[in-house]
């Protein structure tokens, strides 16, 4: 995180190119596997397919291993620890149910974090509701860049996003993530822990240690805060994995993309919803 505090233009350009390359691979893997998701698949089975594809891309380190959530689990309505409940389960995908795939590998030392939302059978009745959620996400993505540029603080940006979702008559789901994050920084990699060995499934040591270090350095040394959440001070600056997540009824949907907020330059590395990573 110390590198991030002093992010010079050259360093930021290095981050942008490294993260964009990692994000391209991650998007390709997730979109490829998403095409193969069918009713009858389990979350664990699809995560195994994602892991196999990432292994082909020689991924060995992770912020978090792949997640897959089906149906009502796309809303995170569970009780108790998010980390344990979010692990891929043996839940079977039913006809017409929504699903979310989300993975964050570290590729050549740079982190990626990409998520895709889909429906098991596009012709199903629930598909219309899901399409409306995706339309709202598209609109949100278009506006969020401008809001991030103008926000006086990360907290203000998060409040604006939540208000927009609520005004559309939808539920805000991203506040149910650990640390209630709308976004987390992707800067400061590679760092001292980015090659830490894998431990089981889910969140991995590079994520836990990087953000714990970031929080400590923020409070002790005034380093930039690593999250955008309801308590985030200061104007958003740098590269963030932004993951607005909204819901309606039994459905949840999200995207996760990288946003660069850097003085005059505020842009998504992938401007379209689930679209190509331009860098």
């Amino acid at each position: 995180m110390s590198a991030r505090a002093a992010a010079a233009p050259d360093l930021r350009a290095t981050y942008v190119s490294g993260i964009a390359a990692a994000q391209r691979i991650t998007r390709e893997v997730i979109l490829t596997v998403s095409q193969s998701v069918r009713p009858g698949d389990t979350e664990r089975g699809v995560c195994a397919r994602l892991e196999r594809e990432f292994a082909r891309a020689k991924v060995a380190h992770w912020l978090h291993t792949p997640y897959a959530w089906w149906g009502e689990r796309t809303r995170f309505d569970w009780r108790g620890s998010w980390e344990a409940n979010a692990l891929p389960s043996d839940r079977v995908l039913q006809e017409g149910e929504a699903f979310v795939l989300d993975a964050a590998p570290i590729i050549d030392g740079f982190p990626a974090d990409f998520a895709y939302s889909g429906v098991a059978s596009p012709g199903a009745e629930a598909a219309a509701v899901h399409a409306a959620l995706l339309a709202e996400l598209t609109k949100l993505k278009g506006e969020l860049g401008k809001w991030a540029r103008d926000a006086a603080s990360g907290a203000e940006l998060c409040a604006r996003v939540a208000t927009s979702i609520e005004h559309a008559g939808l539920d805000v789901i991203h506040t149910r993530y650990p640390a209630q994050v709308l976004a987390h920084t992707l800067e400061g990699f590679p760092n001292w822990c980015s090659s830490a060995p894998r431990v089981g499934t889910g969140f991995q040591l590079p994520l836990l240690l990087t953000y714990a270090t970031g929080i400590v350095l923020h409070h002790l040394g005034g380093a930039p805060y690593p999250f955008l959440n309801a308590g985030a001070p200061g104007r958003p600056r740098g590269l963030y994995a932004v993951e607005p997540h909204l819901g309606q009824g039994r459905l949840g949907a999200k995207f996760e993309s990288v946003l660069l907020v850097d003085g005059d330059e505020t842009r998504w590395l992938d401007p379209e919803l689930f679209g190509e990573v331009l860098g």
């Binding site: 196999r52 692990l87 089981g200 889910g202 836990l208 308590g231």
Partner: protein
């Protein structure tokens, strides 16, 4: 003495909330490790053959 009409802008996130993030994060990570290890009887190859 004149009171400032502008609300001071925070330079730090709330410490209590961040301590909670750290404690809950470590707790959640340990629970996740325990759960994923207990369920590790099926490897990715075996799951793949479910299809």
């Amino acid at each position: 003495m004149t009171e400032s009409l502008t609300k001071p802008r925070r330079s730090r996130a709330p410490l209590g909330a961040d301590l909670a993030i750290l404690v809950l994060g470590i707790w959640g990570f340990l629970r996740q490790c325990l759960k994923s290890w207990l369920r590790a009887e099926k490897g990715p190859d075996e799951l793949e053959s479910d299809r």
